[in-house]
């Protein structure tokens, strides 16, 4: 590709305004694929550049109210067209995140969005309130992305993310505390219809939705005939899910008009353009970023001035 396509409704290198907040770019890193934006920050390319050039935001690894140890290893597995993971939301917990991680992100000047997960809808509100109190003066803190893929303890373990009423309840709880920051809800592709979930998030006060989270997947080790992950099934991501993610974004845009941050299998500037073509206003690079700390920056560079990589 030598030039940006004429049909693009915006300059993909421009800032993006979502709700009350303007982020410096439309290419972000996806939750869980670039840590808290701290590990990997010291990596350089041959020209001495770092991995943050041109990025709109780092979406942090998901933070939960208490620390989580996560799942037993092995936790990752490469497949022909993607990757499986079963990390189990290992994280330092909200206290340590606020005390330790937020000041370091503030010091580095990294634009970031915090991914939050709870086990009851009201926890999303409590976490958002505490984050806001701790990060209100941090200019790089742009908002919250709700990770709704955890089992809802109060509702018999049904996932938050598959039930529109619960999506709305979680979003409302966070929206009441978010103030003048962005609130987006990350939606699951693992239900027949995603538009009702996006509509529920918007009704609950989300300014945007992030689509999509991982697909349920598994693989088998043919030497043993057993699943490759201790918990059998995990999250499937990477290039193989791009057409699925694109269809989900298309459904949301056509049926709800809710602003969408597209994510799923993006590796190149051309992949990002596909999401912009169906109406996404920003995109996230996930699995490719895990593999190459410069992946998102390369997508951004490819969309800056038309020289797609």
């Amino acid at each position: 590709m030598t030039a940006l396509p004429a049909w693009l409704p915006f300059d993909p290198a421009s800032p993006v305004t979502l709700g009350p907040r303007t982020l410096p770019g439309r290419i972000w890193t996806a939750s869980g694929c670039f840590g808290y934006g701290l590990d990997g920050a010291d990596i350089r390319d041959a020209r001495g550049a770092g991995p943050f050039a041109g990025l709109g935001a780092v979406v942090t690894k998901t933070v939960t109210p208490a620390p989580r140890r996560g799942n037993p290893p092995p936790r990752v597995w490469g497949t022909v067209h993607g990757a499986l993971n079963s990390i189990g939301l290992e994280n330092v917990g909200l206290d340590r995140f606020l005390d330790d991680v937020v000041p370091r992100l503030a010091g580095a000047g990294t634009p970031f969005v915090v991914s939050l997960a709870g086990t009851r809808p009201d926890e999303f509100g409590v976490m958002t309130r505490r984050l806001r109190a701790a990060a209100l003066d941090v200019p790089g803190w742009h908002g919250v992305e709700l990770n709704l893929s955890c089992p809802n303890v109060a509702k018999g373990g049904v996932d938050f993310g598959r039930d529109p009423d619960t999506v709305r309840a979680c979003t409302e709880a966070a929206a009441a505390e978010i103030g003048e920051r962005l609130l987006t809800a990350k939606l699951t592709p693992n239900s027949a219809r995603i538009a009702p979930l996006a509509a529920a998030a918007a009704a609950g006060g989300a300014h945007a939705v992030t689509a999509v989270n991982t697909l349920v997947g598994m693989d088998v080790d043919l030497r043993t005939g057993k699943p490759v992950l201790p918990r059998r099934r995990g999250g499937y991501s990477g290039p193989g899910i791009l057409p699925v993610a694109l269809a989900k974004v298309d459904e949301i845009v056509l049926e709800t008009g809710v602003p969408v941050i597209g994510v799923g299998g993006i590796r190149t500037a051309e992949d990002a353009l596909r999401f912009f073509a169906v109406g996404a206003v920003a995109v996230q690079v996930g699995t490719a970023q895990m593999d190459d700390p410069f992946a998102a920056a390369a997508v951004a560079a490819g969309l800056n001035g038309g020289g797609a990589a």
Partner: protein
């Protein structure tokens, strides 16, 4: 934790300078990188094909030698990814993240170092021995049989053990047994305290750790686990620590760790055994953020 003396990782393009089989199971891959990337023995790199043909996940490979913009790796074809690497012709373009992780400690005293390398665990200890090796050190390598051993890389003083005593080339010597048994024989007469450095399959590492602990000798091991990123962001490659302590990240806290930092009863288990050993919750999460 990361030694401040180690260089920060570089993300570089490179080309295949040469690739050659060094044993029945092992290939040596020499890369020419776009910039110099200093590393230390024990560190590793993440290697992928360049551009559109890239695999979803890079493959972690330990470093046989890093010299300026030259990077030499030794690996075994174990699956689809390493098969793709084995097919790379000269001049093929690759992407490398290097150097990653911790290094085997350089000798700080006169105690002999006992090097226990198994199979494709040879590169870091081979390099360590060329950089730091002294007359009193005892380098040992274990292979399945003579055909499995990369003999050109194993000149004296390397000692070789083989599980099956066959295909040993004329003029070379190997003893039957595993590499820890070889080491037991070699050190039995010496009253000296040794320091053990080990790299290889999990059973070798566990046996090396036990061997050293029985003698009160320090032991450093290089761990291997399935990796997503190799640079600390995905938390995929966790290793269990004694008494249910916090995980160690193989890619960032390791791969080289003190042997007593690892819970050997639970490290490197197959998935089904891991589910039991960790008493993983039986409820299956229908999905997980790649988090």
């Amino acid at each position: 934790m990361t030694d401040p003396a180690l260089s920060a990782p570089l993300r570089l393009e490179g080309r295949v300078a040469a690739q050659a089989r060094v044993s029945a199971s092992m290939l040596r891959l020499d890369l020419h990188l776009e910039a110099p990337a200093p590393a230390s023995p024990g560190q590793f790199c993440m290697l992928n094909l360049a551009g559109e043909s890239a695999m979803t996940l890079s493959r972690p490979l330990s470093i046989l030698e890093a010299d300026g913009d030259r990077l030499s790796l030794l690996y075994k074809v174990v699956g689809r990814g390493t098969r793709l690497l084995a097919d790379l012709p000269p001049q093929a373009q690759v992407r490398v993240l290097t150097p990653l992780g911790t290094a085997f400690p350089a000798p700080q005293d006169d105690r002999p170092r006992l090097l226990l390398a198994g199979g494709v665990g040879l590169p870091p200890l081979h390099w360590w021995h060329r950089v730091h090796g002294r007359a009193q050190d005892v380098p040992c390598f274990g292979a399945r049989d003579g055909a499995d051993a990369p003999w050109p890389l194993l000149p004296s003083p390397w000692r070789v053990s083989v599980d099956a005593l066959r295909d040993v080339p004329a003029g070379r010597t190997a003893v039957q047994g595993n590499v820890v048994e070889l080491a037991r024989g070699l050190t039995a007469q010496s009253g000296a305290d040794h320091v053990v450095l080990a790299c290889g399959p999990v059973p070798l590492l566990a046996a090396a750790a036990r061997f050293a602990a029985e003698r009160g000798w320090p032991c450093h091991v290089s761990l291997e686990e399935r990796m997503g990123c190799g640079y600390g962001v995905c938390r995929g490659c966790v290793a269990p620590t004694p008494h249910d302590g916090p995980w160690r990240l193989v890619c960032k806290d390791g791969p080289v760790l003190p042997a007593d930092a690892v819970d050997w009863d639970r490290f490197g288990l197959a998935p089904a055994a891991a589910a039991q050993a960790y008493d993983a919750p039986t409820r299956l999460l229908p999905e997980e953020d790649p988090a």
